[in-house]
């Protein structure tokens, strides 16, 4: 029999339902694997008891003949950006270290209501700011992957949901929550050979999720394949009256609606995504994806998204602007860290607390955000960026006149080594070049594994859909996934 930890969400759910194994066995197997993989630093906090309690409840309900919950028997990892009642929630920052919320985020509550259990709180880039998981106060997350060139360079699992991607790729959990502000679900999924979908902005409640950039932040699932993502997303999504930007819509039955045929679908290839110096392997993967889409019955059309080149600069104005405001509440007054030098006044306390509590990348973005919102520069930066954002959304609207979905690479490269780009913030920001435009437009987008590069590292393909067309995105993802037949997995070296 296969190891339980080799099973994905659907297999675990079905196995528990059918009685092939118990939920407690599943929870124990994953918890043991989490405990044995501490070198990856994927978890900030491990919560085997939480997973076990949910498992016991699943087994009890099954024995009692009750109707099974959608995720009964499935333990998951929770990105430490989601507030979890009674469990430390830090956003990987020093300033929130030791903060234990008295409330549960809507997304995590939805998952517990669906029967899932929690294996632990997953590491991430501090306040979800970063593309490599090197900005966490709790240390870097290592990717389980290694280059096949004989070197042992530790690789980035992507960011900000790097703990989530690493844990799934290393089979520490079958699925995890992620959040995506400019690509933080899709890029780490691509780096680690797993699937992840950012739904339409407003599908998942932001209530109880530590805010980075409110107009962009969106929770979504990360899992080993498209089907598991669909199951997870169904459990996570839904209208929430506590979030004024939440969409007042029923959650579609995405799993039941899965269909890998792309017959009658037109897939757009945006010409502006052919960026300078794109590695040949990425080009080749993209072409491969196009061929797979054709094979699934799609018609391929070239489209133009003319404002693409302004997306990254606009994003790196809007996101820091919102972040500078959202993070103002971490001032040393009410929770977490408080640094009060002798004789200090209120302003000094703020300054000392924030100097000690925030990492460099967070400080950098707060400074950028404060600058672009300041009275003298607001129009030059924030207003302009907001206009660009509108133009980018209009680009997509125009593209939908000729196609149903867009196909692009997820990231401009495979995973890089830790430390390789951390000295150059701008080079790091370029990682988000393909994921940011759809974030600015609030569109659903997903990454699925497409193949490996010359070092055997995973590469991802991205599908972008119309607002609310998660089903179309998932279906195209499934079509590509079936054709890619991605079976590579990280060798267990830890």
């Amino acid at each position: 029999m296969t190891e339980l930890t080799d099973l994905g969400v659907r297999a675990l759910r079905d196995g528990v339902r059918e009685g092939a194994f118990s939920a407690v066995e599943v929870a124990e197997a994953f918890s043991a694997r989490v405990a044995a993989a501490s070198v990856l630093n994927a978890f900030i906090v491990e919560t085997p008891d939480h997973a076990l309690a949910a498992a016991r409840e699943a087994d009890r309900a099954r024995a009692a003949g009750e109707a099974p919950k959608p995720l009964a028997g499935v333990p998951i990892g929770m990105k430490d950006l989601f507030a979890t009642k009674g469990v430390q929630t830090t956003a990987a920052s020093h300033i929130l270290e030791g903060f234990v919320p008295e409330y549960e985020s809507t997304v995590s509550q939805n998952l517990w209501d669906a029967g899932a259990g929690m294996l632990g709180k997953l590491n991430l880039d501090q306040f979800a700011m970063g593309s490599s998981n090197e900005t966490s106060f709790f240390g870097n997350v290592l990717s389980p992957w290694r280059r096949n060139d004989g070197g042992n360079a530790p690789l980035a699992p992507g960011g900000s949901s790097g703990g989530s991607s690493s844990a799934i790729a290393a089979r520490l959990c079958p699925a995890a929550t992620g959040t995506d502000t400019g690509g933080s679900i899709r890029q780490p999924a691509a780096f680690t050979g797993i699937a992840g979908i950012k739904p339409t902005y407003g599908r998942c409640s932001r209530w109880g999720t530590v805010a980075f950039a409110s107009s962009l932040d969106q929770a979504g699932p990360m899992a080993r394949d498209v089907t598991d993502c669909a199951i997870m997303l169904e459990a996570m999504a839904g209208f929430d009256a506590k979030d004024a930007t939440s969409l007042q819509l029923d959650v579609p039955k995405w799993e039941a609606g899965l269909n890998p045929s792309l017959a009658g679908k037109r897939i757009g290839i945006p010409r502006e995504y052919r960026v300078d110096n794109m590695p040949e392997e990425i080009e080749a993967l993209w072409q491969q994806g196009i061929d797979w889409a054709k094979d699934a019955g799609a018609e391929i059309v070239e489209v133009s998204l003319p404002h693409t080149k302004y997306a990254l600069p606009a994003y790196y104005i809007i996101a820091p602007a919102e972040a500078s405001s959202n993070l103002a509440r971490y001032d040393g007054v009410r929770f977490g860290l408080r640094d009060l030098p002798a004789g200090a006044g209120l302003q000094d306390m703020y300054a000392a607390t924030r100097a000690a509590g925030f990492g460099d990348e967070v400080k950098r973005r707060i400074m950028i955000g404060t600058y672009v919102l300041s009275a003298g520069f607001y129009d030059a930066y924030f207003t302009q960026a907001s206009k660009v954002r509108t133009l980018i959304a209009q680009d997509f609207d125009k593209a939908w006149e000729t196609c149903d979905l867009l196909l692009t690479p997820t990231a401009p490269s495979a995973a890089f080594a830790l430390g390789e780009k951390s000295a150059d913030p701008l080079a790091m920001y370029l990682n988000d070049v393909f994921t940011v435009p759809s974030s600015l437009a609030g569109l659903p987008a997903m990454s699925v594994p497409g193949g490996v590069d010359k070092h055997g590292l995973p590469l991802g393909l991205q599908i972008i859909g119309k607002a609310l067309d998660e089903q179309g995105v998932l279906n195209a993802g499934l079509a590509l996934e079936q054709r890619a037949g991605f079976t590579a997995r990280a060798e267990q070296w830890w």
Binding site: F82, A83, T89, A91, L96, F99, P101, E102, Y103, S105, R206, W207, G208, T209, V210, A211, A213, S214, S215, A241, K242, D243, A244, T245, A321, E322, S324, S325, L327, A328, R329, D331, V333, R334, F335, L346, Q347, Y350, T370, L373, S374, A375, Y378, F382
Partner: protein, 490 residues
């Protein structure tokens, strides 16, 4: 006279005062602007604070429909433009009583645009323009005097909905500023959008004052530099601030100085304003659209519901009273406070004549309440009981003086007037036989005065009336007494 002639006399001539008010009015609602927390006044510190008000990580604001509704109704009550599309902005600044580190307000797109308020000051009527009304969150309260080294924060008020009502710089005298604030308060209380309790801080004004030399023939000259005096919490203080601040500015200018644009505070104990902070440390607030909130879009049905829910407002009510026979003065007195008007309306509904009723309310009732130290909402006599009393006067059952006696008993016992009349036999009598008998006795006992009267001392007539009424225990119908006395005295 239709314009203020209020001038400050300086050594270099007359100065005109220009005044604008920014009034912060706490919206009457059970819950805060963006959370479900309660808003009752006087609660224990930090007992009315939700996770949202405390800005815990991941908390999000959700607009409270009732607060929006009250702002719209207020705008409608001052004939203002209601903006179908408005937007919340964040105003970012660090302060310990501001848990989020920003205030949610409406800088660029307020919910209510231009409107106006009609005032009466010094015997003339004037229309004061309102620039806008926007809704925003209140901050918490900091207490620095509770502990030697720590500051205490009370977040009960944090997130409470405020309407900021910004006037145009249309006022020209302390009287106009006072009348504007009083009228605004009256309108808010009629609408029910703010309780207007200025001493509890639910309404306060920032007073902008500048002075300038008046132009020839009443021409407008450019505004001078203004100062803003913060958080003034009574009509009287607003007038005092205007007066003091205008004089101070004139003195500074006449001494060759310049006015600094600055924020000042009013010290009611000393009756002066003093500098609070100057422009140099003015904040760069860093406004931008709040990304947690969608723009507010109001539909026609909502606006219609707001409009339909508006009560009759003071100006309309006053006109109605006057048309019903109430003097302009009485009408103004009766409509100034919503509770008074409500009480008077209830009285009218009981079917009494408006004119006599208004006289009775403004003299007898107000006098009694004043004596008892009660306001009209606490009146021991209900409108229905008052109507019954007035009806007994109207139908001749009670004389004016008997009515006063009955009213005193009503105030003491809360009894209905008919019962009092019955129980104490206070009914007026027009029985000419009884009256004539008493008159005969009095004339007999005062033969000298009868002779004097008949000799031409007309003033003695009042003496005979008084004696007769006294002898009859005040119950005689004064008209009949007059008539019979005239006949008897010849």
């Amino acid at each position: 006279m239709t314009e203020s002639t209020y001038r400050i006399q300086g050594a270099t001539g007359e100065w005109e005062v220009v005044i604008g008010l920014e009034v912060h009015a706490q919206v009457t609602s059970q819950a805060k602007l963006f959370s479900g927390a309660a808003t009752a006044f006087g609660a224990e510190p930090n007992t009315q604070v939700s996770l949202v008000d405390a800005a815990m990580p991941g908390m999000l604001p959700v607009p409270n429909r009732e607060c929006i509704r009250q702002a719209v109704r207020t705008g409608m009550a001052i004939d203002a433009q209601i903006n179908r599309w408005s937007r919340f902005d964040r105003k970012n600044y660090f302060y310990a009583d501001l848990p989020q580190g920003y205030q949610i307000s409406q800088l660029y797109h307020p919910i209510v645009g231009e409107g106006s308020v009609e005032i009466e000051a010094d015997g003339y009527t004037k229309v004061i323009g309102v620039e806008r009304i926007h809704v925003e969150q209140d901050a918490g309260k900091l207490m620095h005097d509770q502990h030697p080294t720590q500051s205490y924060v009370d977040l009960n008020r944090s997130g409470v909905a405020l309407m900021e009502i910004v006037s145009k710089p249309d006022m020209r005298s302390p009287a106009e500023a006072g009348a504007y604030l009083a009228k605004l308060r009256s309108v808010l209380r009629y609408v029910g959008s703010c309780d207007g309790n200025m001493d509890q801080g639910s309404m306060r004004a920032d007073v902008n004052v500048s002075v300038r030399k008046p132009g020839p023939n009443g021409e407008e000259t450019p505004f001078g530099t203004r100062t803003e005096t913060k958080n003034v919490n009574s009509v009287r203080f607003v007038m005092a601030v205007v007066e003091h601040e205008a004089r101070r500015q004139v003195e500074v200018l006449e001494d060759g100085g310049t006015i600094q644009q600055e924020t000042r505070l009013y010290d009611p104990d000393r009756g002066v304003t003093r500098s609070m902070r100057s422009k140099e440390d003015a904040h760069d607030y860093r406004y931008f659209p709040d990304p947690d909130l969608l723009p507010l879009e109001l539909d026609e049905a909502f606006l219609e519901e707001c409009r339909a829910s508006l009560p009759e407002l003071p100006d309309a009510k006053r006109a109605r009273y006057v048309a019903g026979g109430v003097t302009l003065y009485n009408a103004a007195v009766l409509t100034a406070e919503v509770e008074t008007a409500r009480w008077f309306d209830a009285l009218l509904e009981a079917g009494v004549a408006a004119g006599p009723a208004s006289n009775w309310v403004t003299s007898e009732l107000f006098g009694a309440l004043n004596r008892l130290g009660k306001d009209i909402a606490e009146s021991p006599v209900s409108p229905a009981q008052a109507a019954a009393l007035l009806a007994l006067v109207a139908d001749g059952t009670l004389s004016g003086s008997l009515a006063k006696q009955v009213f005193e008993v009503m105030l003491e016992t809360g009894q209905d007037p008919a019962a009092i009349v019955e129980e104490r036999g206070l009914k007026q009598t027009s029985d000419t036989g009884a009256i004539d008998a008493v008159i005969a006795e009095i004339m007999a006992a005062n033969a000298d005065k009868v002779a004097d009267y008949r000799g031409g001392k007309d003033k003695l007539f009042g003496f005979f009336v008084g004696q007769t009424m006294k002898a009859m225990g005040g119950k005689a119908n004064p008209g009949v007494v007059n008539e019979r006395l005239k006949a008897a005295l010849g």
